[in-house]
């Protein structure tokens, strides 16, 4: 790394001399980078645009620490479930039962804690297991029995909704007042200390995240150079590091100046990190995308399409349960209508995030950003006091526009630097 910086210094001195020419090339490289990765960056650009729009129209209210905090709380459970839905859509299926499962899991958890007085530490793993089982059941109907996922999960959507009524029929809407559930719903991670009015632990986590990010970027770069593979030009590489680090740090300080990182944020980050790693780096992830890309070819390559289908639906069940717990915690009570229509928000998040219905294409990070885009729209329009009618119309238009963008950029030619 030392050598890297001394090289950089020499380069920097040289570039001062050639400044104008240099800037021209830099922006050209930057343009080419954007142009060639527009599908990946489009989502982020959309998010930034939406943010800027609302910051202006709400006179800055949108970007207050308090609102950003709320936005994260509102998006959390949808984001987590969108991650699972991405994989479902990647393998060419759909799962309509996730909203009902989330509501059902919330109801059982409430009943276990309130009626049976069970410790949340025990009750939560139990309901997560129930979620996995529900997911595997759909997986069984799809992989083993061979019925379309649309139908199997539509059945689930009705049936679990019914089971919510069964669970709550003796109690009606069931309020939960449990320290762990409350923490998941509203609270932030412990601060340890407050420094200059900042939530210390959040700051530490944010800084560590930035350091880890920079380290891993350097490592991949070094690995790649070792094999003589193409890497980003040094200046662009630095620009990328700086930009992303600043973004992470800005959000960190914004939140730290208010209440710090919420548990919701932590859960979302952990889920995304695990799934991002799994899909990009592991054999399992590659197998999932192969099955989505061409099931016949995958089968003949020695991949069990059945096992992958089970896994993906099982994981969806798990994440639905997790989403259900977060939903219950956020509301503070289990209701008959919990999670109604949630499946559609989750599916919208995945599609806005660039997952393709034709299968084989989609990123979990994209879906999370997609969910955030949709939630930001609602949140911002609420702040502008636009009615739910406008919120619905705009959501619909943005969903379709995002997919149009995706389809149109799919076959765009790459340009040479």
């Amino acid at each position: 790394m030392k050598q890297f910086f001394s090289n950089l210094w020499i380069k920097f001195k040289k570039s001062i001399r050639n400044y104008p020419k240099y800037m021209k090339r830099f922006f050209k490289d930057l343009f080419v980078l954007f142009r060639n990765n527009i599908r990946d960056y489009g989502m982020y650009i959309a998010l930034i645009t939406i943010f800027i729009f609302f910051i202006i129209t709400t006179g800055g209210l949108f970007i207050t620490p308090r609102n950003i905090f709320n936005l994260i709380q509102q998006t959390g459970y949808i984001a987590v479930m969108s991650v699972g839905m991405t994989l479902i859509i990647v393998i060419r299926h759909i799962d309509l039962s996730v909203g009902s499962i989330a509501g059902f899991i919330g109801a059982i958890l409430a009943v276990l804690i309130v009626t049976y007085d069970m410790n949340a530490i025990i009750a939560i793993p139990i309901v997560l297991l129930i979620g996995i089982t529900a997911g595997l059941l759909t997986g069984y109907l799809v992989a083993k029995i061979g019925i379309p996922a649309f139908v199997a999960s539509l059945g689930g959507m009705f049936a679990y909704r019914g089971l919510i009524f069964n669970s709550l029929q003796n109690t009606g809407t069931l309020g939960v007042n449990n320290p762990i559930i409350n923490a998941i719903g509203q609270e932030t991670i412990p601060a340890i200390a407050n420094v200059f009015g900042l939530h210390l632990l959040s700051v530490i986590i944010g800084v560590i995240a930035v350091l880890l990010f920079i380290y891993s970027e350097f490592r991949t770069r070094k690995e790649k150079s070792k094999y003589d593979f193409e890497v980003l030009p040094t200046d662009l590489f630095i620009a990328k590091l700086v930009f992303i680090s600043i973004t992470i740090l800005t959000i960190t300080f914004l939140l730290a100046s208010y209440r710090g990182f919420s548990w919701v944020l932590v859960i979302v980050l952990v889920v995304v990190a695990i799934y991002h790693f799994m899909t990009n780096m592991t054999v399992l992830g590659r197998h999932i995308y192969a099955v989505g890309g061409n099931p016949e070819a995958a089968e003949l390559s020695g991949i069990s399409v059945k096992k992958i289908t089970y896994f993906v639906f099982g994981s969806m069940g798990f994440l639905s349960a997790l989403g259900g717990i977060m939903y219950l915690a956020r509301l503070g009570s289990a209701t008959f209508t919990a999670g109604e229509g949630l499946e559609l928000q989750v599916i919208a998040g995945a599609f806005v995030g660039g997952t393709s219905a034709a299968g084989g294409v989609g990123k979990v990070t994209g879906s999370v950003i997609g969910a955030l885009v949709m939630a930001s729209l609602i949140n911002g329009m609420q702040m502008m006091s636009l009615g739910t009618n406008y919120q619905a119309i705009v959501s619909g238009v943005v969903l379709v526009a995002a997919v149009i963008f995706d389809v149109k950029t799919r076959n765009m030619k790459k340009v040479q630097a």
């Binding site: 094999y227 054999v283 016949e296 070819a297 003949l300 020695g302 991949i303 084989g360 294409v361």
Partner: protein
């Protein structure tokens, strides 16, 4: 002065990183059968897509003249209205619809938007007679075999009053009989005044019926030969840029006594089509041997291969399979791969490759474990291996990060074979490994087979091209209607002997 019905002048078409067509000139006379030949990736399909408006004006540069008039096609229907019809290699029929519905699809016979079905059936029947296809027009297309489907496509083209018929590798998936029928039909149509442009890698067909041949190489027009100048050696030379004296490279016999694979009384029943696809098949494969499976299309050769390779289509099976003398029972291809058997599918697009993924991801799919530590893939290693195959088997692609969809057919085939090899098998089943690939690439694949044998591999080869199967196999079995009807040693393996056994 020749009477050109079609002239294409200075056509240039580029894809990112590839100049697919470079100032190509192509002229076709009225009423002739004009072949377009060239290596994989030479640009043949691209040229025909330019002609038929699949790539609209503006997507390429150059000029197209039809009967002396400049035309500019923006979509396929434009070219159809001008009397052109293209039949792509991927058939464009709707399997669930009947033959007559398919023939008049998108140009229905109607009055005030109400379809006249009786008239449709009557007209469809007429077209079917023209192409000499003897099926009931009310049959569903999915119930026809591939040769019959091909004829339905042609009937469909004829029903549109076509003047120029373009066929992109129509015989690649046909057996000898059906191919011959098709060629005869083209000669008939010529008498009716239909001009025909045909792409093919089978040079026998060219010498049999062509009036002219145009050879493309690397996007350039190399030559146009007239009837009296056409001969195979000249065409090959123009195609590959050098002469190939021996179409089938020699191999030192390497067969050892050790039996690496054996099946005993293997039976397989396919529920999907309610048919017993393999009947009592007993075959043996020795170390260092190439065993050929000969037979007609649909005889059950692929089914036999799949029964050995872990039964991916879930046939109902009985009988025994022995690998290296040990009885095995595979429930899934993964187990067969683990035991050292790899299978390269005959249908690279639907069963072999993941078209949307890139070259390296396709190659590595069969053996990701080799690249992974604790389930985490070493992507750099993946690139190194993919580059190795790209060099060794000469896959023509701008980079291993190119999506496989954008490669030409022959290069897709090479990726498909690389994928099988990456599993590091000692028994390799090649199902139609040279389908749709050019003479040069065929030669490379034959050479590759010989190299693999030299390295101690044993190979089962399925092919519908008898000459290549006879030349490459040390021994062969003939399959007919799921049964092994004969076993022929190299000495006895002649075209007549095989055909006799194949048609019992």
């Amino acid at each position: 002065m020749a009477n050109y019905i079609l002239e294409m002048h200075n056509i240039t078409k580029t894809f990112p990183g590839v100049k697919a067509l470079d100032n190509v000139n192509f002229k076709v006379e009225e009423g002739e059968i004009h072949f377009l030949v060239g290596e994989n990736g030479a640009g043949k399909s691209t040229l025909m897509k330019v002609l038929s408006g699949i790539y609209p004006t503006g997507d390429y540069t150059g000029q197209i003249k039809l009967k002396g008039e400049v035309v500019d096609f923006r979509k396929i229907s434009d070219s159809e209205n001008a009397g052109l019809a293209i039949i792509n290699q991927e058939l464009a029929l709707v399997p669930e619809m009947t033959v007559f519905e398919n023939i008049y699809l998108a140009h229905e016979i109607k009055k005030r938007n109400i379809i006249n079905w009786n008239q449709t059936i009557h007209m469809a029947d007429k077209q079917l007679k023209r192409v000499k296809l003897n099926v009931n027009p009310g049959n569903k297309v999915k119930d026809l075999n591939i040769g019959q489907q091909q004829l339905v496509e042609i009937a469909k083209a004829l029903s549109k009053n076509v003047q120029i018929l373009i066929l992109d590798e129509p015989t690649a998936a046909l057996n000898e009989n059906d191919s011959e029928n098709l060629l005869n039909l083209l000669v008939e149509l010529k008498k009716e005044g239909v001009t025909c442009i045909m792409i093919s890698h089978k040079l026998k067909e060219v010498t049999a019926i062509a009036d002219s041949v145009t050879v493309l190489r690397d996007g350039l027009t190399i030559s146009t030969l007239r009837k009296n100048e056409i001969n195979e050696i000249k065409i090959i030379k123009d195609m590959v840029g050098r002469s190939i004296d021996n179409i089938f490279p020699e191999r030192k016999p390497q067969v050892e006594d050790e039996i690496v694979l054996e099946t005993k009384n293997l039976n397989a029943y396919n529920f999907a089509v309610s048919k017993q696809v393999v009947k009592n098949a007993s075959i043996k494969l020795k170390k260092g041997e190439v065993v050929g499976l000969a037979g007609l299309m649909g005889a059950g050769r692929s089914e036999l291969a799949l029964s050995i390779f872990g039964n991916p289509k879930n046939y109902d099976m009985d009988g025994d399979v022995f690998v290296h003398g040990k009885k095995v029972h595979f429930n899934h291809p993964s187990q067969a791969l683990k035991a050292g058997i790899a299978y390269v599918s005959e249908d690279r697009k639907n069963e072999g490759l993941i078209l949307k993924q890139d070259v390296k991801q396709n190659i590595s799919l069969t053996n990701l474990k080799l690249l992974a530590k604790n389930g985490v893939i070493d992507k750099n290693k993946e690139i190194v291996y993919a580059e190795k195959y790209r060099k060794e088997i000469n896959i023509k692609t701008p980079s291993i990060e190119q999506t496989v969809e954008n490669l030409s057919g022959g290069n897709q085939q090479k990726v498909s074979i690389s994928k099988g090899l990456f599993a590091n098998p000692d028994i390799l089943i090649l199902d139609e490994p040279t389908r749709g690939i050019d003479v040069g690439a065929k030669y490379e694949i034959y050479t590759l087979i010989n190299q693999l044998i030299d390295h101690g591999m044993s190979i089962i080869m399925i092919s519908s091209e008898l000459p290549e199967l006879l030349a490459m196999s040390d021994r062969l079995y003939v399959v007919a209607e799921g049964k092994i009807t004969g076993e022929l040693s190299k000495a006895d393996a002649t075209q007549e002997n095989v055909m006799k056994l194949a048609t019992v």
